[in-house]
Symmetry: C2
Subunit: 169 residues, 2 copies
DNA sequence: CCAATGTCAGGTTGACTGATATGC
DNA sequence: CGCATATCAGTCTACCTGACATTG
């Protein structure tokens, strides 16, 4: 039995916001936070469905994408973790999987022999290209939003990330 | 070794957006989607840290909250799943845990004996009240956003949820 | 008989803690 | 020496699929 996805006859988050506001302060915050949780699920479900034929989760896709954006196609695992804000053991684990799939190989860093680089293989590079094309045809799991909505969304969430200490300046 | 949370010297998502735009279309969508993923992590980390002393995950807190918002403090498990968009086995699991903690009890539905209601206990009701007060003092994991930001965020994500079929009208 | 409700068994992912080998 | 890098072992939550008993 799958998750029950019949649409409700009302907006469940607006309803929760009304109930909240009748009892407690910060209903605006509560509504926004719950909206982020729901939006995350929606986008993730779509994205992972698109990536499934490539045998990629979003976490592994994001790693391939990051490597694809580097000049050499390689980056130290620790730096990958810092960029994606992912736990070191999760990086080890996800790179293990990418190595098994032949999308990435582990290479010793010449300049710092403690560090290990993940380097894209030709197969990995081709896969991230094809997966990206597939994501583009699905609007990246963001239906119904125009350019203005998307920019406003990114801008507000940038403020949040900045205040949370994701990055400086 | 924890996750490396030293702030980057640049906005990693804006950087990814530039790299994306130089290669592929839909960079605006990609940037917004990745922003949602990061925001989710930030808010979830804060919220779960606040809920930890109450021995609640956000999933279990949300269940208690939903029950708290009903007139009788009780709701059928299937309806809980539909409202929270959670898989039936996840509901069974999370209600199991709430029962063990004494926050909820299972009750047979008089009118439909297939259905089982989760019903708040006095302890559950008190816990959700105290947990909510704690969340309020942490701005619900949404630092740096004013009322305008929060409303705009909720409104844009509402368009997304509507287009994704979360609810009608 | 068919549909709906909830549960159980079993598998996957990801994130975490704590300990450890190696190199700066 | 202290610190950083990556890995390993083990735990935990959450999600999923498929099968099942019970009831409408």
């Amino acid at each position: 039995m799958p998750t029950d996805r019949r649409p409700l006859k009302f907006d469940p988050i607006a309803e929760a916001g009304r109930q909240w506001a009748a009892r407690w302060p910060l209903a605006t915050e509560a509504e926004a936070a719950i909206s982020i949780f729901r939006a995350y699920r929606i986008v993730l479900d779509t994205v992972e469905a698109v990536l499934e034929p490539f045998e990629l989760t979003f976490a592994r896709y994001e790693t391939l994408l990051l490597l694809h954006f580097t000049p050499t196609g390689a980056m130290a695992l620790g730096k990958v973790g810092q960029r994606l804000q992912v736990h070191p053991t999760s990086i080890t684990n996800s790179v293990d999987r990418l190595v098994t799939q032949g999308f990435v190989e582990r290479v010793h860093d010449e300049r710092d022999r403690r560090a290990i680089l993940a380097r894209l293989t030709p197969s990995g590079r081709e896969t991230v290209e094809r997966a990206t094309a597939a994501l583009a045809t699905s609007a990246f799991g963001l239906p119904g939003l125009d350019g203005e909505d998307l920019r406003s969304l990114t801008a507000v969430l940038r403020k949040l990330r900045l205040a949370a200490g994701d990055f400086d300046e």
